[in-house]
């Protein structure tokens, strides 16, 4: 089968080779002047029309397109730059506002704290004053009480001792001597009490 195909191809190619060899005639068709004038005519016509249409209609459009694209790109870059500058300005403003508010808040906080502190200290001071006053008053009262109590105690002691003596002995004793004894004793007691 394969041999048959190869053989057929060889035969076919032989035929083609013969026909190619037999067609060896003429030389270069380019040098045959039969259609030279026609070729020149059609060349001038087509190339001329091509040149005219390209130069009048198509190439100006293309160059125009390129120009507009270039200018538009430049314009866009310009606007982008401008917008970037504006953005930077806005960002700076924003930062400034934030800083200002921060400082303001700090100041406000500080002043309020100061106020509160002042308030507290003044209140404490007045309170302390009140307390001191109260203490002084109380001490005075205590002192007075002490004084009066001693006198009263001695008086009571004298009266009770004179009553006791009267009941025990049945007769009055000189009050002055009694009071002297009581005073002496109470002094001793007071000394003992006060730890002097």
């Amino acid at each position: 089968m394969l041999k048959k195909i190869i053989f057929q191809f060889l035969a076919l190619s032989l035929i083609f080779t013969y026909s190619a060899q037999s067609a060896e005639s003429g030389g270069m068709p380019q040098l045959n002047p039969e259609f030279w004038i026609s070729q020149i005519f059609w060349l001038v016509l087509t190339f001329g029309l091509l040149f005219i249409i390209l130069s009048k209609f198509i190439l100006p459009k293309i160059s125009n397109n390129l120009e507009t694209r270039k200018s538009q790109i430049l314009e866009n870059i310009e606007t982008a730059d401008k917008q970037r500058e504006e953005t930077e300005k806005k960002v700076k403003e924003f930062d400034k506002i934030i800083n200002d508010t921060k400082v303001e808040a700090k100041n406000f906080f500080n002043s309020e704290r100061q106020k509160v502190l002042d308030d507290i200290s003044s209140k404490r001071l007045s309170l302390e004053k009140d307390i001191e006053k109260e203490i002084i008053k109380a001490e005075e009262e205590i002192d007075q009480l002490k004084k009066t109590s001693q006198e009263k105690v001695t008086k009571i002691a004298i009266e009770t001792s004179s009553d006791l003596v009267k009941q025990l002995i049945g007769e009055d004793i000189n009050k002055s001597s009694l009071s002297a004894i009581v005073e002496d004793l109470s002094k001793k007691e007071m000394e003992k009490h006060n730890g002097i």
Binding site: S19, W42, L54
Partner: protein
């Protein structure tokens, strides 16, 4: 018949014979491919003129080729060559599209005909010469007298310069024509080898054919570029007389 590698360059009439004053200007397959190339250029670049800030693919393509050619012109011929931009752009695109359409199998390569490339080159040559004489008057003839050459050698140098200047259209046209014709002939020859060696030995020329196709696409672009850049260099000579 189809195996003759030169058969692909035959020009034949399509449609009726058109004659004006006994001059045959019939529509041929060469004319057909000129029209197809021009229409393709116009359609592609017309789609590329949409006004949008972010270009789509076709617009990007047309804008890239615009800036590519404009950069090429300003690099080689300076800012004075700006008025000739659209001519060089059309020239480059026409040659490029004709070369590229020629790469499609069974199509016709317009630029593989010496008469087409010669007309283009002659037009460029005449135009550049006229521009040179308009810009510099008779001072344009200083192009043939390079500065700093010893007096003894001057006659010889001037003759050489004039010959090289006059041979510009021939070299420009033959370069493009010969490149295109040689490439297409070679591809056809390798294609013929594929057929004649058959399934046994045909693989090697087939590989060559594939590689040559890639090479030919490169050559098609490169020759269009060379054609356009040489035009710019000639224009540079006419606009900025450096001697």
């Amino acid at each position: 018949m189809a195996a003759n590698p030169m058969y692909q360059f035959n020009v034949y009439r399509i449609g009726p014979e058109i004659k004006i004053n006994n001059i045959d200007i019939s529509f041929t397959n060469a004319s057909l491919f000129m029209v197809i190339s021009s229409l393709a250029i116009l359609i592609i670049f017309n789609f590329g003129t949409k006004r949008s800030i972010i270009p789509n693919k076709i617009q990007l393509l047309s804008e890239l080729s615009y800036s590519f050619i404009s950069k090429m012109i300003s690099d080689t011929a300076g800012s004075k060559a700006k008025p000739y931009f659209s001519f060089i752009f059309s020239l480059f695109m026409f040659v490029l599209f004709c070369n590229m359409f020629g790469m499609i199998p069974y199509s016709f390569t317009v630029t593989s005909h010496i008469i087409v490339t010669f007309v283009l080159a002659a037009f460029i040559f005449i135009g550049v010469t006229i521009i040179g004489f308009i810009k510099h008057g008779l001072g344009y003839l200083k192009l043939f007298v390079p500065s700093g050459v010893p007096m003894v050698l001057l006659p010889l140098i001037v003759v050489i310069e004039i010959i090289s200047y006059l041979s510009r259209p021939i070299s420009l046209s033959v370069r493009l024509f010969a490149n295109m014709m040689a490439g297409h002939t070679m591809m056809k020859v390798f294609g013929g080898f594929v057929v004649s060696l058959g399934i046994v030995g045909g693989w090697l020329p087939l590989g060559f054919s594939v590689a040559l196709t890639g090479l030919e696409i490169l050559v098609a672009f490169l020759q269009a570029y060379v054609f356009a850049i040489l035009t710019c260099i000639y224009l540079n000579d006419a606009l900025n007389l450096h001697h």
